[in-house]
Amino acid sequence: MQAPLRQDVVRSSPARKLMLSNAPEQERGMFRVPPVLEQS
C-alpha cells in the first residue's frame, strides 16, 4: 500500500496579486461579491 497524497510540507501560498488577477471584481486585495445577507 502506498499513500497517494503528497508530503504535508509547508510551502508558500501563491501570490495574492496572481490569484486575484482573474477575478471579475476585487477590492482592497480581496474578491468582491454581492451582498449575501438581506438588509434589515
Binding site: 497517494p4 497524497l5 503528497r6 501563491p14 482573474n22 477575478a23 471579475p24 471584481e25 454581492p34 449575501v36
Partner: protein, 496 residues
C-alpha cells in the same frame, strides 16, 4: 526516417522533423514559422485553434535552436525527440498566462496562474507550443459543435465535423498545422476525433498522465492523451507526458516501460474481437474496413478470436449518469467570484443564476441538470449508486477478456464524420457516437485509434485497439506494426 523528399517541411512526420533538427538540416524557428504560416492560411476555414501563441512559440523555438547547437557540440547529453517540435494543446489544459476557455464563455479571459503538469513536461522537453485548440464546451460533446466559439471543420470535408471533443487538436494534426497535439479523453474525445480526421490518437490509462492543470469534467473518467500522424510519432510524446506526479493523487507510480516498436511481426499476439461492437445500423464501410484491418493484423502473425463483453450495451446509460454527476459537482466552481466574467449581481443568487444561465451552453446545462438530479437526496442510490455497480460489471468484462487475449479490436465509431448540424437538437443520437469508446473510460483502460481506410466519400475510417491498464506500449507497438505495412495514416487531406 524516410528519405523521401518533402516539398514542405510541415509534411515531415514528427520523427523526421526531429531528425532534421538534430542534423541541422532545419531549425526549430524555421519549422515553427512554417506551422504558423500554415495556421494563418488554413485557420479561417478550419477554426482548429481558440488561441494561437506565435510570440511564445517563436521564443521557445529560439531557445530550442540554441539548445540544439549546444547539443551538437557536446553530443553526449540526452535530448528528447520532441525538442524543438511545434505542438498544440487542447484548450482544457492550463498554460500559465495564456487564455484557457474550455470552449466556454464562462471562462472567457481566464489566464491560469499555473501550467498543467502534462504541458509543463512538454515545455521541459523543449517543445514549442503553437496555441490552444478548439473543444466542445468543457469537453462535453463529440463534434466541437458545442464550443461556444463555433465548430471546427474537418480538413477532409469542411462541411463535416472533426469529431470531439478534441476536434481542434485532431483537425490541426490532420491539416499539418502542428506535428502533434495534446487532447483529453473522458468518453472517446481523443479516439473518435482521431478516427474522423485520419490521425492516430492515444487514450492513456486512468492515472498514467497527471491531470493537474486539466480543468475537470468527469474526475473518475478524465484522461490526458495525444494525437499525431502515426503511432511512432506518439511514442516520444507519450514518454514526455506520462509518469507519476505528486500534484495528482490519482497518478500511478508504476515506472514507464521502454517502448521498442520493433518490426511488424505480431506472432504471439492474441487479438479479441468483441461481438457486441459490431452492431446493426453501423455504416457498412466502417465494419468492412475494420474487419479488413483485423485480417491484416492476423496476416502479421496475430491470432484473432471472437470474445464477448456482455455488459457493453449498458455502458452508454451508465456513462451518462456518472459523467454528468461528476460534471455537476466539478462545474459548481463557476460562480463568477474568483474567475470568469460576471453577469448580474443584485445579490449572490442573482449573480449565480444570471452568470451560469447566460454563459454555460445548452449541453453543459443539460449535463449539470442530469447530474444534479442523479446525485440528489432520494435518487443517489437509484441512479449514481446503481451506475457505479454496473460500471464494475463493465470493468469485469474487460478483466475477463484480458485473461484470454492481449488486445481488443473494434470500430472507433459507428460512422465516419457526419455533417455539421446533422444531429441537430437530438442529443441522444450524438451520444451514440461514443458507444464504442465509452467502455474503456469506465474501465480505466487505454485505447488507440488509427486510420484503416476511407469510405466512398473519401472520409477516414478508424479502428480502436484496447489494452489492459497501463498497456500503452503494446497498443503503440501493434498500431506501429499495422502502419509499417499500410499507408492509410500517411495520406493527408487535400486542403486548398
Amino acid at each position: 526516417v524516410s528519405t523521401t523528399p518533402k516539398s514542405d517541411i510541415t509534411e515531415f512526420s514528427l520523427l523526421e522533423a526531429a531528425a532534421a533538427l538534430r542534423s541541422g538540416q532545419i531549425g526549430s524557428r524555421e519549422l515553427t514559422e512554417a506551422c504558423l504560416d500554415r495556421i494563418e492560411k488554413f485557420e479561417p476555414s478550419l477554426h482548429a485553434f481558440l488561441t494561437v501563441t506565435p510570440e511564445l512559440a517563436l521564443e521557445q523555438a529560439d531557445l530550442a535552436d540554441g539548445e540544439l547547437v549546444r547539443w551538437r557540440r557536446a553530443g553526449s547529453t540526452k535530448l528528447p525527440l520532441i525538442h524543438g517540435i511545434p505542438l498544440a494543446i487542447k484548450d482544457v489544459l492550463c498554460l500559465q498566462g495564456v487564455q484557457t476557455t474550455c470552449g466556454s464563455k464562462i471562462l472567457e479571459g481566464f489566464r491560469p496562474p499555473y501550467t498543467a503538469t502534462s504541458v509543463e513536461r512538454l515545455i521541459d522537453a523543449g517543445s514549442v507550443l503553437l496555441g490552444k485548440t478548439n473543444t466542445d464546451e468543457f469537453a462535453m460533446g463529440s463534434s466541437t459543435e458545442n464550443s461556444a466559439y463555433g465548430p471546427t471543420h474537418n480538413p477532409w470535408d469542411l462541411e463535416r465535423v472533426p469529431g470531439g471533443s478534441s476536434g481542434g487538436s485532431a483537425a490541426a494534426v490532420a491539416a499539418r498545422l502542428c506535428f502533434a497535439a495534446l487532447g483529453t479523453d473522458t468518453g472517446g474525445s481523443v479516439r473518435q476525433p482521431a478516427a474522423f480526421c485520419g490521425v492516430t490518437g492515444l487514450k492513456t490509462s486512468y492515472g498514467r498522465v497527471s491531470r493537474y492543470g486539466l480543468i475537470a469534467y468527469g474526475s473518475s473518467l478524465d484522461t490526458v492523451g495525444a494525437l499525431a500522424r502515426s503511432a511512432s510519432d506518439l511514442v516520444p510524446l507519450f514518454q514526455a507526458i506520462a509518469g507519476h506526479d505528486e500534484l495528482d493523487s490519482t497518478s500511478v507510480s508504476d515506472p514507464l516501460p521502454d517502448i521498442s516498436l520493433g518490426s511488424g511481426d505480431l506472432r504471439g499476439l492474441r487479438v479479441g474481437v468483441p461481438r457486441e461492437y459490431f452492431i446493426e445500423g453501423m455504416q457498412p464501410e466502417v465494419e468492412s474496413a475494420v474487419r479488413s484491418a483485423i485480417d491484416h493484423l492476423a496476416s502479421l502473425g496475430a491470432s484473432v478470436v471472437e470474445v464477448s463483453l456482455p455488459h457493453t450495451a449498458l455502458a452508454l446509460p451508465v456513462y451518462y449518469l456518472i459523467a454528468p454527476a461528476e460534471a455537476s459537482a466539478n462545474l459548481a466552481r463557476y460562480d463568477a467570484v474568483r474567475f470568469g466574467p460576471r453577469i448580474g449581481g443584485e445579490d449572490l443568487w442573482d449573480q449565480y443564476t444570471q452568470t451560469r444561465g447566460t454563459l454555460f451552453g445548452p449541453e453543459v446545462k443539460r449535463r449539470i441538470m442530469l447530474g444534479t438530479y442523479a446525485l440528489s437526496a432520494g435518487y443517489y442510490d437509484a441512479y449514481y449508486g446503481q451506475a457505479q455497480k454496473v460500471r464494475t460489471l463493465i470493468k469485469e468484462d474487460f478483466d475477463l477478456a484480458f485473461q484470454t487475449v492481449d488486445l481488443l479490436a473494434s470500430p472507433v465509431a459507428p460512422t465516419t464524420a457526419f455533417r455539421i448540424g446533422e444531429h441537430g437538437d437530438d442529443p441522444l443520437s450524438m451520444y451514440l457516437e461514443d458507444v464504442f469508446t465509452l467502455p474503456a473510460n469506465l474501465a480505466g483502460v487505454p485505447g488507440i485509434s488509427f486510420p484503416v481506410g476511407f469510405d466512398s466519400q473519401g472520409l477516414p475510417i478508424g479502428m480502436q485497439l484496447t489494452a489492459q491498464h497501463l498497456g500503452e506500449a503494446l497498443l503503440l507497438k501493434t498500431a506501429h506494426a499495422y502502419q509499417e505495412t499500410t499507408t492509410w495514416h500517411a495520406q493527408p487531406p487535400a486542403l486548398a
